[in-house]
Amino acid sequence: MKLHEYETKELFSKYGVKIPPGIVARTPEEVYNAAREIGTPVVLKAQVVVAGRGKAGGVKVANTPEEALELSRKMFGMEIKGLTVKKLYVTKYIEVEREMYLSLIIDRATRRYLFLASPTGGVDIEEIAKANPEKIKKIYVDPFVGVREYHIRSIASWLGFRPDAPQWRQVASVVSAMYKIMVDYDAELVESNPLAVTKDGDVIPLDARAIVDDNALFKHSDLAKALEEDPRDVTEFESWARKVGFHYVELDGDIGIIGNGAGLTMSTMDLVYHFGGRPANFLDIGGGASREVVREAVKVLLNHPRVRVIFVNIFGGITRADEVAQGIREALAGGGKPIVVRIKGTNEELGRKILAEIGVPLFEEAEEAAKKAVELAL
């Protein structure tokens, strides 16, 4: 779950970090009132969970409440990288002296938490890594040890502060807060970019974002509720698909993909692409998927406006082929689109038989099946 800037900043604030005054607004009137309350100049920031919203016109400065009202009318409803702007975060305009970068992730290789710190920020970490890799320092934190003074020391001095500078404790506060957010909220990423030194000499997270582990949302009912109310980065199809319980990602082609297992499903997409087709989606029915899930999966693609051919590629491990076949049969009972099915695995023969009964062709190999799917989509 990707957290909005305002949600992330609220967490920073909860853990004692000073953040710029800000109000979330859902209508131009709310923007106007917020601008008056906060005091102009203000910044209007589109709350969409994508990078680069500034370049896309999602961040504007308003010098009066009236200007804020005016600007917000254009910003609400804007599309930024496919996402519609529904909320604006109205924040105090802050004069900035220097922009830094600080993020916290889980490092897969070392199985530790990892801070990435750079004394220059404001652009994506990828860009810093390309232009000035020597500016990025890695500070590892073991989960059994947690953030300690020596980590803070390492980060604060790398960001350019001396222990006796007033900013030192502010950096310490940001570092501690990021770690607490990471651990307490099961985050996979907590980022402040830019982490700014203001003209007044304060260190504040001028922008911030976080991604929370979807597998841990059961522990965080407040976030789960926020996600329910504002699915943020998913299309209607994605949202629906996830509610049914499988992994679904929207792509831009016309061949609907259903696979079991993430790797096989991705490989099926790649295979379609390899033979000249364009996958419309990623739909993984997962391990141990029930007949009902398979049925719903096929139905999603039957209803998908862009999908012209459905390609089901199942190599049975924990999934039982007869369950898959029955799900497909049930889904097709209500009419259909061309379907190419390949099943191999557990209870395979039974699955084949079930499909044969409804006249759906079966392929032995995914390669032939992929070619057939691409052919049907032409």
Binding site: I105, R108, M182, D213, N215, T265, M266, G286, G317
Partner: protein, 290 residues
């Protein structure tokens, strides 16, 4: 044999559950020495003739269990793993999916500090046809042909698919390890490859990667440095995966600009590892490097 051997005695945690019971039977059929099951509160029953206990400790004490296959639901899986570590198993295969990554991060570190090897979570496990031992959920039918090829993979079904292709073209399999699709796994693609490379009965390794993380890049680097010492053929899934999106596996995501399939394929090729364009090309490339 890597990870398992003829003395491997397995307990199934979550033995009385639907999946646990189903796969316990498949493991027995394959030839695995599944000697005990554990389901707290169900001690005393048997599942497919295997006695079930309340605790792993009891299974270890009574049957000399040294490996576990964990099938318990995500909310309880970390506890099950820690229990197995404390009970003294040497290998823990965590099949369970959807375990919170921070919990697994701590558990994996703890297991390592106790000298326990963890495979998974969110993995198909490990299977060794030469000794007819499987700890996991791979389809038995695919792993009937022993041989000298190792398969190491971040995927489940794609591993079966490629193993199936290998066998179909006459290759035999020494061991297949699905390391798991989560961001944090007990043994990652690089580490597992390094392990199988040390087995004198392995001639070549098929590595199956996917988007997310940098295990493939780290492996490519090791290979280039000569640390693997055996031919590798790679396949990487997810060339058509969009950035910033989680592709089914919790670990399959391009984040902070790193982990895309293109970069991994490039890293392999630059290190001298041939990369298959499709799963079906793997046997062909394998034949070329042997």
């Amino acid at each position: 044999m890597t990870l398992i051997n003829p003395n491997t005695k397995v307990v199934v945690q979550g033995a009385t559950g639907r999946e646990g019971s189903f796969h316990l039977q498949r493991m027995l059929e394959y030839g695995t020495k599944v000697v005990a099951g554990v389901t707290p509160g169900k001690g005393g029953v048997t599942v497919h003739g295997v006695p079930v206990y309340d605790t792993v400790e009891e299974a270890v004490r009574k049957h000399g269990v040294n490996a576990t296959a964990i099938f318990v639901p995500a909310k309880f899986a970390v506890d099950a793993l820690l229990e197995a570590v404390d009970a003294g198993v040497e290998l823990a295969v965590v099949i369970t999916e959807h375990i919170p990554v921070h919990d697994m991060l701590r558990a994996v570190n703890y297991a390592k500090s106790r000298g326990v090897t963890v495979i998974g979570p969110n993995c198909p496990g490990v299977v060794a046809p030469p000794i007819r031992t499987k700890i996991g959920i791979m389809p038995n039918s695919v792993y009937q042909t022993p041989g000298r090829i190792a398969v190491v993979s971040r995927s489940g079904t794609l591993t079966y698919e490629i193993s199936f292709q290998l066998v179909k073209r006459g290759f035999g399999i020494n061991v297949a390890i699905g390391v798991g699709g989560d961001p944090v796994v007990g043994l990652d693609l690089m580490e597992a490859t390094l392990r199988v490379a040390q087995d004198p009965d392995v001639d070549a390794i098929v590595v199956i990667g996917e988007v997310g993380g940098d295990a493939e890049e780290r492996l490519a680097k090791l290979y280039a440095e000569g640390a693997i010492g055996k031919p590798i053929v790679a396949y990487v899934a997810g060339r058509t995966a969009p950035p910033g999106k989680r592709m089914g596996h919790a670990g399959a995501i391009v984040m902070l600009g790193s982990g895309d399939a293109g970069g991994k394929i490039r890293a392999f090729r630059e290190a001298g590892v041939p990369v298959a364009e499709t799963p079906f090309e793997v046997p062909k490339l394998l034949a070329e490097v042997l």
